[in-house]
């Protein structure tokens, strides 16, 4: 019997929190990988997909559970697992050739073989003629090709890709995806399996054989979707569109985290940092034709050129404020939402103020504390400490920033960054 390429069981990852508790990032991850597959890890930024990828790469130790690669437990970067980074992570002081050779040098191969294999990888990935260029001379797409060549040259069993196309423009990203799929389909890549982290639903459907959907806070696998479409896949194909729609529905109808989805936000709800302008913008778009109050999420995402990562926080914020409702992959303006769209700036602020105080407990809480104090001033640290009892420091910081920005827009309190204090006084 041969060992599985990769086997993950009951994996969890957590970090200690300020109050002594622990902040859970990944929980109960089970996953088994067979050779010959491209597996997509799909979820929002901060959903722990990248953490999972780093655990597989042996860059971090999990808090619990096991990762087994070819029958061996992973504790340090294992041989035969290579990674392509979102930010390319090329060494700017090495030429293209030297960057590609690096992993082979680390293996201690003879110089002739290093050179021959590096040149072969460079040829394969379409970088001929760029061998002596430095990364800073290359465009983003060419840089990521170097990233691919550098990973492929060590002939890894598993290629890990951490949002490899998200730092590229749309056209370049598409070219790179197609080139990669061509090479993979023709069996020219010296790899057995690929794990792709992405937050782009269409990218996942386009490239993967299996898609694992992740929830956030903590990240769990909420469903697994098999993609049986034949390569090359067509984005306009009806089956393709259906699959995209299905994933949208699955991602907006997650059961495990009801607090996040709006109706009952509590003080420990992590607030997304979304500007009031974006909120108004989406409401106006929804209110105007052709949507007139109701739209299909994938359609509107496409229309606005927003990826899941950009769109979902806006949708969730509006949902939390009871300005929209989301059901079955559709987004719909509530009566408040419709009112909001028609009002002028001052009335909008008044409506927003009401929704904020009614439905975002943190905003109401800050307002109440300020009202109770005789001088109507409270330091930011007071609220930060309170939030950190419920969430990670980073989430607490972000939530407080979000509620600060919304509170400023609604003019329910003021915040002075120099002194780090909230107050009820507005500068006149």
């Amino acid at each position: 019997m041969t060992d599985a390429l990769l086997d993950i069981q009951h994996l969890r990852q957590s970090f200690p929190r300020a109050d002594g508790g622990e902040h859970l990032v990944l929980d109960g991850i089970d996953f088994h990988m067979e050779p010959g597959q491209i597996v997509g890890l799909l979820g929002r930024t901060g959903s722990g997909k990248s953490t999972l990828l780093r655990l597989i790469a042996g860059l971090a130790e999990p808090s619990g559970g096991t990762i087994t690669y070819l029958g061996q437990p992973v504790h340090a970067p294992p041989p035969g697992v290579a990674m392509v980074f979102q930010s390319f992570a090329l060494f700017p002081w090495l030429t293209v050739l030297e960057n590609v050779q690096l992993g082979l040098e680390a293996l201690g191969l003879p110089e002739a073989e290093i050179r021959q294999r590096a040149i072969a990888a460079i040829d394969l990935i379409g970088l001929d003629g760029y061998e002596s260029a430095y990364p800073r001379e290359l465009s983003g797409g060419m840089r990521q090709r170097v990233g691919f060549a550098r990973a492929l040259v060590v002939h890894p069993n598993i290629l890990l890709m951490d949002e490899p196309f998200s730092a590229l423009d749309v056209l370049t990203a598409e070219t790179l995806r197609t080139d990669f799929l061509d090479l993979w389909g023709e069996g020219k890549l010296p790899i057995k399996g690929v794990i792709l982290v992405t937050h782009n639903i269409e990218e996942a459907v386009l490239m993967c054989d299996r898609i694992l959907l992740f929830s956030t806070n903590p990240a769990r696998i909420i469903s697994e979707i098999k993609v049986d479409l034949r390569q090359p896949r067509n984005r306009l194909d009806a089956q393709f569109r259906d699959l995209v729609e299905k994933i949208y529905v699955a991602m907006t109808e997650r059961k495990p985290a009801p607090a996040k989805l709006g109706t009952v936000a509590t003080i420990d709800t992590v607030l997304p940092r979304v500007s009031a302008n974006l909120l108004s913008g989406l409401i106006e778009t929804l209110a105007a034709p052709p949507y007139v109050g109701k739209a299909d999420l994938p359609v509107i995402a496409d229309e606005l050129h927003m990826e899941v990562d950009d769109l979902f926080p806006v949708v969730e914020s509006l949902q939390m404020l009871h300005l929209v409702e989301v059901e079955g992959g559709d987004i719909k303006l509530t009566d408040f939402g419709k009112q909001f769209a028609e009002l002028g700036i001052d009335d909008r602020k008044r409506l927003f103020q009401r929704q904020l105080l009614n439905y975002v407990p943190l905003a109401a809480h800050i307002r109440r504390v300020l009202a109770e104090r005789t001088n109507h001033v409270a330091p930011k640290s007071r609220f930060l400490d309170e939030l950190e009892d419920h969430m990670s420091t980073e989430d607490a910081e972000n939530s407080l920033r979000a509620v600060t920005a919304w509170g400023r827009f609604a003019e329910i309190y003021a915040y002075d960054d120099d002194s780090g204090t909230f107050s009820l006084e507005n500068p006149t």
């Binding site: 780093r54 790469a57 042996g58 860059l59 130790e61 504790h75 340090a76 970067p77 041989p79 697992v81 290579a82 990674m83 980074f85 979102q86 930010s87 992570a89 060494f91 700017p92 002081w93 090495l94 690096l102 992993g103 040098e105 680390a106 293996l107 201690g108 110089e111 002739a112 050179r115 021959q116 040149i119 430095y134 990364p135 800073r136 001379e137 550098r150 060590v154 890990l160 120099d418």
Partner: protein
């Protein structure tokens, strides 16, 4: 696959290119220089006294060579120190807790203090030989170079982008390889800048390090520094001019032969990947790079070097699972050991000082320290008033900035002793108060750091921001208050911190001045240390050094550090 022919086959038409000829000359020149300068190292000290340094300018080339060689050896030592000390501090959490504050203190100890205390030890290393004295001088120079290089390297190591480290780890580079492939290249541009600063700094103390006089131990090593000391003793103005000229030439030479090529070479290590800015050029670097001979000669070394990076000696051990409880226990033990060592050191120092020092002495030094503090504060304020406007004016004009930069760099290297003739004659002629009029010497070398940084800050003001200013007709004082001063503030603070620390250090050279038999002294901690060094009173030297370190550390912690964080948070652009 391409196969390398074992001889160069590029341009067959000519036997040697002109680059080869130049390269050979450069290499031969270097060898001759090393041989010349290191001659009679092993001679007995008596030999040195038999051939006293002379003011004959014909000796100056040899003196210059010796001084430069000392500086270069000290530079190599500083690099070794930097690579080990800073790496340890950056990679080990436990070491960091002790090493970083320690470096802070070391930096605050006046350079002359190191000389006074260590000279006897170094002389004992090679008794009766010139080598011992050379060690002492080189160590003194080392102390004027090493600390800021180590700091720079430590800070670079801390800021290596996480994804580069991750890439290095997934591609399974061993720690030795990732040190040379990731850490050192990333830190290189900043490190080279600090090396240049360090060279300037060591010129400032060149007299103190070559004409060593501690109590009865007097050593004069042949070099530019001792030449200057002699010239001052003999009131020989012509010799002072010769010394200035020599310094200028030496600085120009090593700038061209060493630092320009280094800067041009290190340009590839810049992490920011923007194209467009013109890369720094150096003819020496071009020569060495284009020469096929040099290429041939260095290739075997380079190959060997590459192989050494692959050695398995430094392989990472498979990380065992960390146990939280155990780590806490080791931390406790570590803190305990540190505490014991500290207590022991305190006892040692107190016992050493107490033997001969009364409470009155402590009070006196503290008061003298206050006097020096007042000088430093006033001088930094005056220098800021002058150099901030100048720096902004220069920085907003790139063509002027390119011309001013090298001049200021030379001025930063200018030893205070060279101005003694002018200052002393002036004070004596006009019967001025040395307490006031000797003070400017303290800031002679360090004021330029304010200028450098302000220029850099002004040059970094985004063009759009200046355009907005013009567009809204913001001008005059409003422009300074709302645009220029806030934009340069973080840079200014960095420069002022360096200048302040350097001025304390310089007080030892600057509060006592002499020209022939005119000796002037200003009341201050620097003069105190200098005088006790002359008298060879080690207890009081240590007391003086301790008090000065105390002042510097307190001021850094209570004033500069908060100001720095404030500036970074509020005014840093982008």
């Amino acid at each position: 696959m391409r196969v390398n022919v074992p001889i160069s086959v590029g341009g067959w038409a000519r036997l040697f290119s002109r680059w080869d000829v130049l390269a050979v000359l450069l290499v031969l020149g270097l060898l001759v220089f090393l041989g010349e300068a290191s001659r009679n190292l092993l001679e007995p000290l008596v030999e040195l006294q038999r051939q006293p340094p002379s003011l004959d300018p014909r000796h100056l080339p040899e003196y210059a060579a010796r001084t430069t060689l000392r500086m270069l050896i000290a530079m190599v030592a500083s690099l070794l120190f930097t690579f080990t000390y800073a790496t340890l501090a950056a990679k080990s959490r436990r070491a960091e807790r002790i090493l970083v504050p320690l470096l802070d203190i070391l930096q605050s100890v006046p350079i002359l203090g190191f000389i006074s205390v260590t000279v006897v030890f170094f002389m004992a290393l090679a008794p009766g030989r010139v080598l011992g004295a050379e060690f002492a001088a080189i160590f003194a120079i080392f102390t004027s170079q090493a600390w800021n290089m180590a700091f720079s390297f430590y800070q670079s190591l801390r800021t290596v982008p996480a994804e580069l480290n991750e890439a290095a780890r997934t591609f399974r580079l061993n720690p030795w390889m990732s040190f040379w492939r990731v850490d050192v290249p990333f830190a290189m541009p900043q490190l080279i800048w600090n090396m240049m600063m360090s060279m300037s700094g060591s010129w400032f103390f060149v007299v103190a390090s070559e004409a060593i006089s501690v109590g009865n131990t007097t050593v004069t090593l042949p070099g530019v520094g001792s030449y200057i000391a002699l010239a001052i003793e003999h009131r020989d103005l012509k010799a002072v001019w010769w010394a200035i000229g020599t310094m200028l030439i030496v600085i120009l030479i090593y700038d061209q032969l060493l630092f320009r090529p280094l800067v041009a070479w290190a340009d590839r290590f810049r992490f920011e990947q923007e194209a467009g800015v013109l890369p720094p050029r150096s003819w020496v670097f071009d020569v060495l790079r284009r020469s096929r001979l040099v290429d041939r000669a260095t290739e075997p070394c380079a190959a060997l070097w590459r192989r050494s990076l692959q050695t398995h000696l430094f392989d990472r051990k498979p990380a065992a699972k960390r146990q939280a409880g155990k780590s806490g226990w080791v931390d406790l033990l570590w803190a305990g050991i540190a505490l014991v060592v500290c207590a022991f050191a305190v006892v040692l120092v107190v016992r050493f000082v107490v033997q001969d020092v009364t409470l009155t002495d402590v009070g006196t030094t503290l008061l003298l320290g206050l006097a020096t503090l007042v000088r430093v504060v006033v001088l930094i304020a005056i220098a800021s008033l002058i150099w901030v406007p100048v720096g902004v004016w220069v920085g907003t004009r790139p063509s002027v900035a390119n011309m001013v930069q090298p001049v200021a760099q030379f001025l930063a290297a200018f030893p205070a002793n060279l101005l003694f003739p002018i200052v002393v004659s002036f004070i004596v002629a006009w019967r001025l108060d040395p307490n006031i009029w000797l003070s400017p010497l303290m800031i002679l070398g360090t004021q330029w750091y304010i200028l450098f940084n302000v220029i850099a800050g002004a040059a970094a003001i985004p063009a759009e921001m200046r355009a907005v200013g013009e567009n809204l007709h913001v001008s005059g004082w409003l422009w300074w208050r709302r645009i220029a001063l806030p934009a340069i503030f973080p840079y200014y603070v960095t420069g002022a911190i360096t200048a302040s620390g350097g001025s304390w250090n310089a007080s030892i050279v600057a509060e006592v001045a002499s020209w022939g038999n005119e000796h002037l002294t200003a009341a201050g901690l620097g003069a105190y240390i200098a005088q006790e060094t002359d008298a060879g009173d080690f207890h009081r030297i240590v007391l003086g050094i301790a008090v000065m370190s105390f002042y510097v550390v307190i001021i850094n912690r209570t004033f500069w550090r908060p100001l720095y964080f404030y500036a970074e948070r509020k005014f840093r652009l982008g």
